[in-house]
């Protein structure tokens, strides 16, 4: 290593701690309220994505750019910030717009059809496949298949 290279290396090594001590962006802490705000944002997003935009087609108020959706999001934020639970906020909107405003309807009464029908279809399909598969394997084994 030449003399010039040694000097450059020494300068680089001596400068490294200086760069390391450069003040970084302040880390958000609970004390300055930043963390709490982020948590509130997350909650607002979570609730807003479960509420239907009443002037749109199949959009949540989280995804809709409409003025009413924005105002509904503001109400969600206000109520969560005031200490209401996510369920209480959803109940507030359901009391005014009906259960229709909930993108995920409650699993009770007629709504149960929505939840049970896919399960029933999957179970029925699985049972059908099982029965057919058994028949095919019996046939393959040389046993006469009986028509049910």
């Amino acid at each position: 290593m030449s003399g010039a290279h040694r000097v450059i290396l020494l300068l680089a090594l001596s400068g490294a701690p200086l760069f390391a001590q450069t003040p970084a962006t302040p880390v958000p802490s609970a004390a300055d309220g930043v963390v709490r705000e982020t948590e509130l944002d997350r909650q607002v997003k979570h609730v807003a994505s479960q509420l239907r935009c009443v002037v749109c087609q199949g959009l949540s108020i989280q995804d809709s750019p409409s003025t009413l959706a924005q105002e509904m999001r503001a109400v969600v934020r206000e109520q969560l910030a005031a200490g209401r639970s996510e369920q209480e906020v959803k109940d507030y909107f359901a009391a005014r717009y009906g259960e229709w405003v909930l993108l995920q309807p409650k699993a009770s009464g007629f709504n149960l059809v929505v939840y049970l029908l896919p399960v029933a279809a999957i179970l029925g399909g699985a049972a059908f496949v099982y029965v057919r598969a058994r028949r095919w394997t019996r046939r393959d084994a040389g046993q006469p298949a009986r028509e049910a």
């Binding site: 009443v54 003025t67 009413l68 105002e71 509904m72 009391a95 005014r96 717009y97 009906g98 229709w100």
Partner: protein, 185 residues
């Protein structure tokens, strides 16, 4: 056997057909409303252009029929009903019925010039900042009109323009049930 397969097919198809038939009986454009029959949400709204500044509270009108109409200057159908609302408010005002127009999602300047363009408004216009009252009333759009009885219950919600005949048909029985002396406010 074929008949057995056919029975299974019918057994699967029937509930699906029944579900679709049920869907055909409902109007997808009909918007649900939970308010009729229930207490009207309380509100405190500023009266537009009032000097000194005035605020209208629903609770101050207990014992009176209140007609709350949500409107906006950008709403074409609001033009259709405006004449009827003004006419009926003049007819029923002396009998203690209170009419209010709530400006929805609009600027006061636009609302003011719209009222001028329409030749005036026989009842006060209220300002709903942030549409909080509109959301409290489960509003979908404008025009929408709520008729609130003397006990503070919503008896009717009209989505779309309302006519003088419709208003009279709803208000008259309410007044007949609880007579209000002329001039009483």
């Amino acid at each position: 056997m074929n008949w057995r397969r056919a029975l299974i097919g019918v057994g699967i198809a029937l509930p699906i057909i029944a579900l679709l038939a049920y869907g055909m009986t409902t109007d997808p454009k009909k918007l649900p409303s939970t308010l009729p029959g229930r207490p009207a949400p309380e509100f405190a709204l500023r009266v537009m252009d009032s000097a000194p500044p005035d605020t209208v509270r629903l609770s101050a009108h207990r014992g009176q029929v209140v007609v709350l109409n949500f409107w906006a200057s950008w709403c074409l159908e609001c033009r259709v009903e405006h004449g009827d609302l003004s006419l009926v408010s003049s007819m029923y005002g002396p009998r203690g019925v209170r009419f209010y127009g709530v400006l929805y999602s609009d600027t006061e300047a636009n609302g003011r010039s719209w009222i001028r363009e329409m030749g005036g408004q026989a009842y006060p216009a209220l300002v709903d900042d942030g549409s909080r009252t509109a959301i409290d009333y489960g509003l979908y759009g404008v025009p929408e009109t709520f008729i609130i009885d003397q006990q503070g219950r919503v008896v009717h919600k009209q989505i779309g323009p309302i006519t003088a005949q419709q208003l009279s048909a709803i208000i008259d029985p309410l007044l007949a049930a609880t007579p209000v002396h002329p001039g009483e406010t």
